[in-house]
Amino acid sequence: MEIYLGIDVGSVTTKLAALDSEDRLIGHVYLPTLGKPIEMVLTGLKEISKELPADAHVCGAGTTGSARYLAGVIVGADLVKNEITCHAVATMHSIPEARTIIEIGGQDSKIIIIEDGVVTDFGMNTVCAAGTGSFLDHQALRLGIDIKEFARLALESRTPVRIAGRCTVFGESDMIHKQQMGHRIEDILYGLCQALVRNYLNNVALGKKTELPIVFQGGVAFNQAIVKAFNDELKTEVIVPPHHEIMGAIGAALLAHEEMTDGNRDSQFTGFDAGGASYVTSSFECKACPNLCEIAQLALDGKVLARWGGRCDLWERVHPEGSP
């Protein structure tokens, strides 16, 4: 059976999706990255293979997410694609009429504008993570609330408190202040949701033409309170697609499929059972110029597979075995 595999290694979670030759989703995995992208990719491969039929044959594999190059080397990806394109492709596939995509992940948030089936504009949060999932995670942790309980409690709010959401540091001190003044926890939680939504619309979505319908996806879309906050603020019903949390992986799989249909070649995919291989990552400082870049490298059984991280191509261009 023909399979197209998409792997999305984000900062907080690792997602895998498997599509058949008709681009139907036949298996998916959602794991916490926990700062160990390589292990999680290997675990994910093992887990997804259990969901697939015995005669599954991977005809194309794509990677995306902030660790897309690393993951690409490990699995032998046929295509390595940025997460913005992957998200857009997946959404246009499942909800063709979508005009605006709101995507909020662990460390980044994006807005994608679509016109006539083509991405015409996008925005991404810059240096600050205030409008992202980690903002909520962190504040929930402070309040000692499980993130899964978060939405249920927040939705019970009657009179939400206004919390400064521009910056996590100010947001946090403002939240503590409101707590000490005796506001109810539900109201503080929903206030946080509103702060995140406000922050997103004022930063990431600033100056973008948001046409309807709006699709809301990414891990944060699990949180019903955020969905409600968006609906209230935008005065519309945002669409949360099924499998919204793995859209990036689905997009990577779709693009891998497209890539392999275009050309006549075999997939480079290395197989589901790379668990026995010992990947080692390490880093060193390049001394070729005063920039002193930190170069990261990935090795398998003592052989260097790839290097990243320089300001220039010096180490990327060189033959992995030797020095430049």
């Binding site: 902030s66 694609k81 940025n82 997460e83 913005i84 394109t85 006539d116 089936g117 083509v118 991405v119 015409t120 504009d121 996008f122 991404m124 810059t126 240096v127 100056g207 110029c289 005063p290 920039n291 002193l292 870049c293 991280g309 300001r311 220039c312 191509d313 261009r317």
Partner: protein
């Protein structure tokens, strides 16, 4: 800033002045600049301060700093940096602000005259001319490189040739050698094996002149775009930027005027720095380029004004604004560039199928 040092070095040498060229802008330059700068200032200030400190370490006691250009903060930079250098212990240093706007031309020439032990006017003018010739030679090679990069078969070939070419231009002592080097490298660039089938996407790089011209401040965005198969165009070149060069190159002045006129319906006046030009270039190139990358230093007021006007013009073209800052990470930039180039490619395919 970029290759400006080559041209300035040539001028100062012809004036028999004793000068040092600080080491190329690097992570160390940035670290030094950031350590001694107020947090909210822009990356051009921090990097040039780092350059000044590195020059001071080599014994420099007088610096030439562009100043009084437009109405952005840059006008104060020479004075502020002089103060900082004195505060951190470089004694009686002198940062000379050289006015580069046209009306200050006489002032600039007088400053140079006094610094050069009263060299004759003829000598000064001839030194300027030689420096400007080096600038335009380098600019020509850069323009060729931008074209070749997008379609070359072995990525990195053109960039390597450019680096070598600039080095030889730097060493050229007279007009004859300079002409020969320019011709040589232009030919070599023309012979780089390219993929003739590809019709590359064309992206204009616009914005504040320092970050546009100093590759370090933007993670060498032009090479990154080249790697993605994009042909970069820009109208800001060192030779076009110094208004002084208008004397020798009337075309540059005309081009500036054309850009200002294009901006008129949306912005009627200079807002400092290059904000007016950014709006004008967006409008002007909307029909001819596939997309525009707008470079702006973080906290740069003129470019913030431009950024907010750009989406509202009726001339439509995708614009990606990149804020250059010491906090910027290469990974984030590359992700955005890749997505932007995907957007442009798919858009072109759609328009083609229509």
């Amino acid at each position: 800033m970029g290759n400006l040092y080559v041209a300035l070095g040539a001028m100062l040498q012809r004036l028999d002045m004793d000068y040092v060229i600080p080491p190329p802008t690097s992570q160390r330059t940035l670290a030094l600049g950031v350590r001694h700068s107020p947090e909210g200032l822009c990356i051009p200030f921090k990097l040039t301060l780092g350059n000044l400190i590195e020059a001071a370490e080599l014994g420099a006691d007088t610096w030439l700093m562009p100043a009084g250009y437009g109405i952005c903060r840059l006008g104060y930079y020479a004075k502020t940096q002089e103060q900082i250098l004195q505060d951190i212990g470089y004694g009686h240093v002198n940062v000379v602000g050289i006015g580069v706007s046209q009306d200050k031309l006489s002032g600039l020439l007088r400053t140079v005259k006094s610094l050069s032990n009263n060299a004759s006017w003829l000598k000064i003018i001839s030194a300027f001319r030689f420096g400007l010739s080096k600038m335009s030679a380098m600019d020509r090679l850069e323009r060729l490189t931008q074209k070749v990069r997008a379609v070359e078969l072995a990525k990195g070939t053109a960039s390597a040739l450019l680096v070598q070419g600039v080095k030889e231009i730097d060493h050229a002592d007279d007009y004859r050698t300079l002409k020969k080097v320019e011709k040589d490298y232009a030919e070599q660039l023309g012979q780089v094996p390219v993929d003739e089938q590809i019709k590359p996407l064309v992206v204009g790089v616009i914005g504040e002149f320092y970050v546009v011209l100093e590759p370090f401040s933007s993670f060498d965005i032009e090479s990154e775009l080249g790697k993605l198969g994009v042909e970069v165009r820009r109208s800001t070149f060192i030779s076009g930027w110094t208004k002084l060069s208008y004397l020798f190159n009337p075309f540059a002045a005309k081009e500036k005027d054309r850009i200002h006129r294009a901006a008129m319906p949306y912005l009627k006046r200079d807002v400092g720095g290059d904000g007016w030009e950014s709006v004008g270039e967006k409008v002007l190139h909307a029909g001819s380029y596939d997309g525009i990358v707008h470079l702006a230093p973080f906290t740069c007021m003129p470019e913030i004004i431009a950024r907010n006007i750009m989406p509202r013009t009726k001339e439509d073209i995708p614009v990606l604004t990149v804020l250059c800052d010491e906090q910027m990470a290469k990974t984030g930039l590359v992700t955005r560039l890749e997505a932007f180039v995907d957007l442009l490619a798919r858009r072109r395919r759609r328009d083609y199928n229509r």
